[in-house]
């Protein structure tokens, strides 16, 4: 299905609803708002004439598209225009580097303890800030000594599986948080799935959000070539990163413009892990042998989670756990938006965007915060000093796996 993203701007009636939701426009006058940057400016854009640099301050959270009552693809228009601007005005080295988590992961993983120790020093962070423009206080992940791929290969598989699912773990679970990946596998296995973990790389999302479309497309295509045969065999694919899952469901087509039946098939078979588990629960097929978790946990849905169009499945699942007090936060964005909040010139904006969420978490006197997206978790944990976990970590704990 090809999509006419640009043509949707004709539907804009200038109702301003997107402007009232945009968390970046609220935090800084440097971004004039989605309506202005999107449908209004787009009419004047043509190849070679990017009309304004303020577009660079859009974080790509996508709320504008979701709330638009007229079906204007505002965030997608802006993402494409930003890529065009980057092509014309050049791409900083930083934006090329931080947008390649597989490359960074492959370099850092063999020397993980050293890399982690070095990157924890103030000196290294100041050097990274002045040389690369990565803000010294931005939350950066640490690297794991063993990748998820290697741990998954060596794990003991339980027998008695009644169905299969393909696990798309993404870069963060492979290089930074293999524990989260293992928990995803174990929760799925507990629910009777045989979990297939195929070799896989980056989905291309960080490059896309940094406006670097050409290499983003090749990452997406490479990943799709690995997942499509499994999808053709009828397997469901499950992702625990809401943003990477969304990339394959929708953004690779609508933003990168990849019009490919294999991608469409992978997107159609792609489920967020909480979406899949809640569907099981709705069908009465989820194992609910949860032990009580007497904790107080605010749940923040990441922006990309809203883009799926499935409500808040993580929240529905956490409410199944006895004695777990889940507090639904109602904030649009934590501010980091993938790699946006890492950047020297945008870090302060990201902190202002997240300020009300951080205040909610502090006020809740929480044991931990739950959030589905890894970069959001790192940012929220750093900003609040309260640990942030994937909702499935709480499910895993309540199952006592």
């Amino acid at each position: 299905m090809s999509v006419d993203i640009r043509g949707s701007l004709d539907n804009c009636v200038k109702c301003t609803i997107c402007e009232t939701f945009c968390p970046v426009a609220e935090a800084t006058p440097l971004f004039p708002g989605p309506k202005y940057a999107g449908p209004q400016s787009e009419r004047y854009r043509e190849p070679g004439t990017s009309v304004d640099a303020s577009l660079d301050y859009c974080s790509g959270c996508g709320i504008c598209t979701q709330v638009c009552p007229q079906g204007v693809d505002i965030a997608e228009i802006n993402a494409r225009a930003r890529a065009q601007m980057r092509t014309e005005r050049g791409m900083p080295l930083r934006d090329r580097l931080i947008a390649r988590p597989t490359l960074v992961g492959r370099l850092a993983q063999p020397v993980a303890p050293v890399a982690n120790a070095v990157m924890r020093t103030g000196l290294a962070r100041r050097a990274a800030e002045s040389a690369l423009g990565i803000h010294r206080d931005a939350a950066l992940p640490s690297f794991s000594v063993r990748t998820l791929q290697s741990r998954a290969r060596r794990r003991r598989r339980p027998g008695g599986a009644t169905r299969t699912v393909v696990y798309f773990h993404g870069c963060a679970a492979n290089y930074n948080e293999p524990d989260v990946g293992m928990m995803a596998i174990e929760v799925l296995e507990h629910n009777g799935f045989e979990v297939i973990v195929p070799p896989q790389g980056c989905c291309g999302l960080p490059l896309q959000s940094n406006g670097n479309f050409r290499p983003a497309r090749s990452y997406t295509r490479e990943l799709v070539s690995r997942l499509a045969p499994l999808a053709r065999d009828g397997h469901m694919i499950v992702a625990n990163s809401t943003s990477c899952g969304l990339m394959l469901k929708r953004e690779a087509r609508e933003i990168l413009g990849i019009d490919d039946p294999d991608l469409a098939l992978v997107g159609e078979r792609m489920f967020d892990i909480c979406e899949l588990l809640r569907d099981l629960d709705d069908a009465g097929e989820l194992r609910t042998d949860f032990h009580p978790l007497p904790m107080r946990v605010p749940y923040h849905q990441p922006c990309q989670g809203r883009g799926h169009g499935f409500g808040k499945p993580a929240l529905d699942l956490l409410r199944l756990i006895p004695e777990l007090e889940v507090i639904e936060t109602d904030r649009e964005c934590c501010g980091v938006a993938g790699t946006y909040g890492l950047k020297k010139e945008k870090y302060e904006i990201a902190m202002r965007v997240g300020a009300s969420l951080f205040a909610d978490i502090a006020e809740a006197r929480a044991d931990c915060t739950a959030c589905d997206s890894e970069t959001c978790r790192w940012h929220i944990a750093k900003a609040t000093g309260v640990p942030a976990v994937h909702p499935l970590e709480l499910l895993h704990r309540a199952y006592r796996l």
Partner: protein, 412 residues
């Protein structure tokens, strides 16, 4: 698991969902985007013109045609719906009960009747007369106090002495600030002090006059902001609706959504319902375009709160009107012959919509089309909300009637 599916996130859909959730029904709200609450002034217009200015709206219902939705519902339901929102959401501090209309100034200085309004808006009721200063903070766009003051003074409906004042204040450096930007600035004590000081200087001694300000007296902290601004100006203040975005509308939308969240209603904003799947004469599920695929949502009952022609609840092509989700029969369709030389006269298309019974079930040839489907709000046939000033009153009354019908059916 089957749930009640409410399609649309305007006032009729959200009110219906809240009533259902209050009674314990599992509800999913699916909306293509945020509803139009953010565009309107958060007043509940019950009946403003019929066709002359209406002073007692509930009493005037008896004079409406038999196929008007209010007539289909009956007076009792309309009375109950009018009071429901104020009682259910006391934090909104709604004033008015539908007994008499208040008269409020619009952003153009027209005088409009409404039945129920938030306290800060209702404080601008012009019926008591007296003196009013309309004032603005200059960078706020599309708000002209001199125009408002002159038009209100010239109105034959009210006897008010008016004047205008404008303060030049920096609001975040914006050349043309939006109401939401001003509202957020007014929530910060230091910004508020700066802005109100400039306003006070521009107004001078209010001398007992009320001060009408653009409706931007805070968002979440509205009550406190309104009080602080009133204290700072040494005058009673009220809010005059602005061009969109409407801050009172945002407050209403947020308040409704917060209640729905507390009741664990599933909210899906940004996805479009593309079709309904029939089983006999019932609709057993809706197909929804979500990310990556069409997803089926099982339905116990369906409420269509998709709005009228302006918001996609009805679609028009050269041959006529259609209802795009379920293909329901559209009543009052002028068909292909709809050219009318008199642009400002009421047009046949204004009244067009889905004809319903008292349980808000769509009718075709006088018979119920789908027993588990309900149509509410601007989608319903028979009213001309823009002319009658009846939009939100109809939204509430029809939305709640559908909820009650569904609850009765579930209990049976």
């Amino acid at each position: 698991m089957s749930r009640v599916l409410v399609v649309g996130a305007g006032l009729s859909g959200l009110a219906c969902a809240l009533r259902l959730a209050d009674a314990g029904a599992p509800v999913t709200v699916i909306a293509a985007g945020t509803g139009s609450l953010q565009l309107g002034g958060a007043t509940i217009d019950l009946l403003g013109y019929a066709p002359a200015l209406v002073q007692q709206p509930l009493d005037a219902l008896a004079g409406l045609p038999a196929d008007h939705p209010y007539s289909v519902l009956g007076r009792e339901r309309v009375v109950a719906a009018t009071g429901w929102l104020a009682e259910r959401l006391p934090a909104l501090r709604l004033r008015g009960d539908g007994g008499t209309n208040m008269l409020l100034a619009t952003a153009l200085g027209a005088v409009r009747p409404t039945a129920v309004a938030p306290a800060a808006v209702a404080a601008g009721d012009l019926r008591p007369g007296g003196r009013v200063v309309f004032a603005n903070v200059r960078p706020l766009r599309d708000f002209f106090p001199a125009l408002i003051a002159a038009n209100v003074a010239a109105s034959s409906e009210v006897r008010v002495e008016t004047r205008a004042a404008e303060a030049d204040v920096d609001v975040r450096g914006d050349a043309d600030a939006s109401p939401i930007a001003l509202a957020r600035a007014l929530e910060l004590p230091d910004q508020r002090a700066r802005i109100t000081a400039a306003l006070r200087a521009a107004i001078g001694d209010a001398g007992g006059a009320r001060v009408g300000l653009p409706a931007a007296l805070g968002v979440d902290g509205h009550t406190d902001v309104a009080e602080a601004v009133s204290d700072a100006l040494g005058a009673e203040v009220f809010e005059v609706p602005t061009a969109p975005p409407s801050v009172p509308g945002i407050r209403l939308y947020r308040a409704l959504l917060a209640e729905l969240r507390n009741l664990h209603v599933r909210l899906i904003v940004g996805s479009t319902v593309v079709a309904g799947v029939r089983a006999g004469d019932r609709i057993e599920s809706l197909d929804v375009q979500v990310s990556g695929r069409i997803r089926s949502f099982a339905a116990d009952a369906v409420v269509l709160a998709t709005g009228g022609l302006a918001t996609g609840g009805l679609e028009a092509d050269r041959d006529g009107l259609r209802e795009p989700v379920l293909g329901l029969p559209v009543a009052g369709d002028p068909g292909a012959h709809r050219y009318d030389a008199d642009t400002f006269r009421e047009h046949a298309v204004d009244r067009a919509g889905i004809r319903v019974d008292a349980r808000m079930r769509p009718l075709g040839d006088g018979a119920v089309v789908h027993p588990n489907v309900h149509a509410v709000g601007a989608l319903v046939y028979g009213a001309v909300p823009w002319r009658e000033l009846s939009g939100n009153g109809l939204a509430l009354a029809t939305g709640l009637a559908a909820a009650d019908a569904i609850l009765e059916e579930r209990a049976a």
